[in-house]
Amino acid sequence: MEKSMISGRIWVLTNNRGELIEDIDTDQIYHNAHLHITEISEMGQYALGNLKGWEDFSQKAQPGDILIGGRNFGAGSSRQQAVDCFLSLRLAAVIAPSFGAIYFRNAVNSALPVFKCPDLKEYVEKGKMESGDRIEVNYRTGEGTVVNKRFDFFVEPMSDVQEGILRAGGLFNYEKTLNTT
């Protein structure tokens, strides 16, 4: 597999009516009751623990899985733990139509691949993407495929900046690769 490909099994964050959940905030992703935890390895068990219908996500998720969320994913506070809990579970990526601004920055800086996919809601409504499907995404071209349904889709390609930080393993490591004097 090429290095610019990300692939995995998806979890589509839908409500009990089967609709993508919008405006999932950082308190639903990682509740403030667990903010005292500093070890990333311990954070995964609380991921989505405060999101109705998804409280058991951490038991279901496997390393390499991909999360599919609704518009304005990661709204709310600046808490880094809302990114770190997914790194803890070793998720491969998060895809959503849009993200909270600070959440997106935090994810990029921590080397969690995040993709914007404006038409995601339509894909989910039409049953083109369901939990358990396997997808592949080329983050340079933005071309994606739901492998088991042979359905092609697009995400916004990753910018050079985001890719650079991702390859370095985070913003601090990225700095160490720069030729600064």
């Binding site: 985001q162 930080i165 601090f172 700095e175």
Partner: protein
């Protein structure tokens, strides 16, 4: 296609073409950290880079403005962590005597038209008032900025807001700002840069432009600009002695994601009611609301013009017994101008408490908080539940705060 103001500034500080949606590396003219966020920047820096130097100590600053001088052990320790690091690195500290960091950057001319500035203050985008690109960021980003002199940034869309009409006393820049907030809410300008046009904003003093641009944060916007802002008057040059201000125009044919018009003819004094800066009503609808305390200051309304407006209302009058009016100048220079012009004496005579400069009164700082059930009328920018203690906060102009403290209930300057 022409460029908007933010696209022009980012273009001149990055490589390649700048267009909305594209992430670029931005070269920074200034990176700063406060006594909140600053200690984490120091800890991150030392953990990741040990004793390595910052990229350019001449462009790196600490500004202490939150707890000044430190009123808790935690802040005392945190300020020391920053001071020790600054001494070792040769970084300048604008210490606890100086005032609000963002305002210091303008007075010192470090933030000026066309420059790029980041720091750990969520209202740092206030520097749009001097046509400077600026952004508040978290400690990870600012640590990286200290070390590399850069930051990545997604070029935002720009929105154009045209204001129709002029504003007249007793309406001021704050009333205009609250009127715009009522119109924009937290959705219309979200994640966008905004350019404001029209006489109502183009005739504002720099203090007035600061008021408007400071509350871009409450609109959930990236930053606001008033491209055709007036040049500084001789009075303003005394207040901002090192600032060289000039208009910064968008290019012909610049692309705007959306445009809107807001009518501000006959604007009356406005008040944002608890607990959102966008829940705005006219003073006339709120005149039966009793107040316990008032606050004038903050990065939004802490300039000489703001205290002059308060003094105009308070001259020869007294704050009603039992009511506490707290005044906090934005900077030491503002304090000095108030002394020199005799304004401080008028304010003191009215019975107000005047403290040293800083973020106190708006942030949880050196001039106290509100208690349960306390109703405060404030010139700050946020009235979220719990932000200034357990009380209920109403946001208004300095003139309305002063009048309300004389009357003991929410009042217009014309009521006293």
């Amino acid at each position: 296609m022409g460029k908007t103001v933010i696209e022009k500034i980012l273009q001149s500080h990055s490589e390649g073409r700048t267009e909305p949606g594209k992430i670029v590396w931005v070269d920074l003219d200034v990176r700063s950290a406060r006594d909140f966020g600053g200690p984490n920047v120091v800890k991150n820096f030392q953990r990741e880079y040990g004793d390595a130097p910052v990229a350019d100590k001449e462009k790196t600053f600490f500004t202490f403005d939150l707890s000044v001088p430190a009123c808790t052990r935690k802040y005392a320790e945190n300020q020391q962590i920053c001071r020790k690091f600054a001494r070792k690195q040769g970084i300048k500290v604008f210490d606890v005597d100086k005032g609000i960091g963002s305002h210091i950057l303008m007075e010192e001319g470090l933030a000026s038209p066309g420059k790029t500035v980041v720091g750990t203050d969520s209202h740092l985008n206030i520097l749009g008032a001097v046509n400077c690109f600026s952004q508040g960021m978290g400690d990870v980003d600012i640590t990286f900025a200290f070390k590399s002199g850069k930051i990545w940034f997604e070029v935002p869309e720009t929105m154009k807001v045209q204001l129709e009409g002029q504003i007249r006393w007793p309406a001021t820049a704050k009333d205009l700002t609250l009127c715009i907030l009522k119109h924009m809410g937290t959705q219309k300008a979200a994640l966008k840069a905004v350019e404001f046009y029209g006489e109502a904003v183009e005739n504002l003093s720099l203090a007035g432009r600061i008021t408007l641009c400071s509350m871009e944060t409450e609109m959930a916007g990236i930053t606001g600009f008033i491209p055709r802002g007036k040049r500084l008057s001789s009075e303003e040059r005394k207040e901002f002695p090192r600032l060289s201000f000039s208009p910064l125009h968008a290019e012909r044919g610049a692309h705007y994601s959306d445009e809107c018009t807001i009518d501000v003819h006959n604007l009356n004094p406005q008040v944002a009611v608890p607990f959102s800066p966008t829940r705005v009503q006219s003073v006339s609808e709120l005149k039966n609301i009793h107040v316990d305390s008032g606050f004038i200051g903050s990065c939004t309304n802490g300039r000489v013009e703001d205290f002059k407006a308060a003094a105009q209302v308070l001259k020869g009058r007294k704050v009603k017994p039992g009511i506490m009016l707290k005044l906090v100048p934005a900077t030491r220079r503002v304090y000095e101008r108030l002394l020199q012009e005799g304004i401080l004496e008028i304010l003191f005579e009215s019975g107000a408490i005047v403290s040293n400069p800083g973020c106190g009164g708006c942030a949880e700082g050196h001039i106290g908080l509100t208690g349960s059930g306390e109703v405060q009328i404030s010139t700050g920018n946020r009235n979220f539940a719990g932000k200034q203690g357990r009380g209920e906060i109403y946001l208004a102009s300095p003139a309305v705060v002063a009048a309300s403290c004389v009357k003991g209930r929410i009042a217009s300057p014309e009521d006293v």
